[in-house]
Amino acid sequence: MNGVHDMGGMQGFGPIEIDQGYAPFHSDWERRVHGVLCIFAINGYFNFDDSRYAIERMGNAEYLTTPYYEHWLAGLEIVAIEKGVLTKEEIEARKEELREKGEPLYG
C-alpha cells in the first residue's frame, strides 16, 4: 500500500541520530510489546506481514509522530481485533481496570 511509511527518497527528516551499542529496548512496555507480538505470531494467529500491514493502516499523522514500538503496539491491537481474538471494548475496559488499581504495571 502506498503511504507515508514508504520513506525511501523523502526529504526533510533531518540528521540521523546515531545510537551506539546494543540496546534494543528502552522501557518495559517496549519489551512487552516485542515479546507479546512475537509469541502471538509464533503461536500461529497471524504473521509478520499481517502486523506490518496493520501498522501501515495506523494513520499517517500518528505514524510520523510516534516512536517505533508504538507502531508495533498499534499493529498488535489492530491484528488482535481483526483476527477476532480481542475486541476494542474489552481492551479499553481492561485499561480502565488497570488504571483504577493504580498498581505498577511493570518493573
Partner: protein, 208 residues
C-alpha cells in the same frame, strides 16, 4: 521494592495498553507469559551482532566458507548455528576494493535478527530510511566513513522475505590474527554497511 514510576503520576498510556492486551491474551490461553519473558531475554541478552561477527571472521579466514557464504548465505550462516525468524532467507554481499554495500529497510525495519539481533533505533528512523537511498555518501560521512569518490556505493533495500548481511573488507594490520581475534573487531555498523571495520593500526594511531 519500590519503583520510580509508582511516584511519577498516572501510568504511561502505552504501558496500560500493552498490559491490557497481554493480560487478556494470557487469560484466553493464547500466549504464555513465561514464553514472552523468554523471548525478550533472548533478544536482549543472547543474540546480537556478535553472531554476525563470527560469520564474518570465519569468512575472512576460510576461503571455502566464504565461497559458500556468498553462494548460499542462509545455509552457510546456519552452519554456525544461526537461523530462524527474520533470517529465513539471507543474502551476503561482499565489500571489495571498488564496491561498498549498505543495507536499509525503507518501508519499516526488516533486519537479519539471527545474525545481528534487533536493529538500533537509527536503522528504524525516518532520517536513515529516507536518506540512505538518495545520499548514501553523506550518510556514510555522518557515521564516520569518508568514502573515496571513486568507490561505488550500492544500497540494498531489505524486505520481509529477504535479508542482507554485508561482508566487510578485512582490514590491513590483521595478518595472522585468529578467527576469535578477528570476530572481536567486526562491528554492527560494518555489517549493515554504514561503516567499515577500521584497521587496528588506525585504531591505535600507530599507522606507518
Amino acid at each position: 521494592m519500590s519503583h520510580d514510576h509508582e511516584h511519577s503520576g498516572p501510568p504511561d498510556e502505552r504501558a496500560l495498553r500493552i498490559k491490557a492486551i497481554e493480560s487478556l491474551l494470557i487469560e484466553k490461553g493464547i500466549i504464555d507469559e513465561a514464553a514472552v519473558d523468554e523471548l525478550v531475554d533472548i533478544f536482549e541478552h543472547r543474540i546480537g551482532p556478535k553472531n554476525g561477527a563470527k560469520v564474518v571472521a570465519r569468512a575472512w579466514v576460510d576461503p571455502d566458507y566464504k565461497a559458500r557464504l556468498l553462494e548460499n548465505g542462509t545455509a552457510a550462516i546456519a552452519e554456525l548455528g544461526f537461523s530462524g525468524v527474520q533470517g529465513e532467507e539471507m543474502t551476503v554481499i561482499e565489500n571489495t576494493a571498488t564496491v561498498h554495500n549498505m543495507v536499509v529497510c525503507t518501508l519499516c525495519s526488516c533486519y537479519p535478527w539471527p545474525t545481528l539481533g534487533l536493529p538500533p533505533s537509527w536503522y528504524k528512523s525516518a532520517p536513515y530510511r529516507s536518506r540512505v537511498v538518495i545520499e548514501p555518501r553523506e550518510v556514510l560521512s555522518e557515521f564516520g566513513y569518508d568514502i573515496p569518490d571513486d568507490k561505488e556505493v550500492r544500497v540494498w533495500d531489505s524486505n520481509a522475505e529477504l535479508r542482507y548481511l554485508v561482508l566487510p573488507q578485512r582490514p590491513t594490520g590483521t595478518e595472522g590474527w585468529s578467527e576469535e581475534q578477528l570476530a572481536e573487531i567486526v562491528t554492527r555498523d560494518a555489517m549493515i554497511g554504514t561503516n567499515v571495520v577500521p584497521s587496528p593500526d588506525q585504531t591505535h594511531g600507530a599507522s606507518l
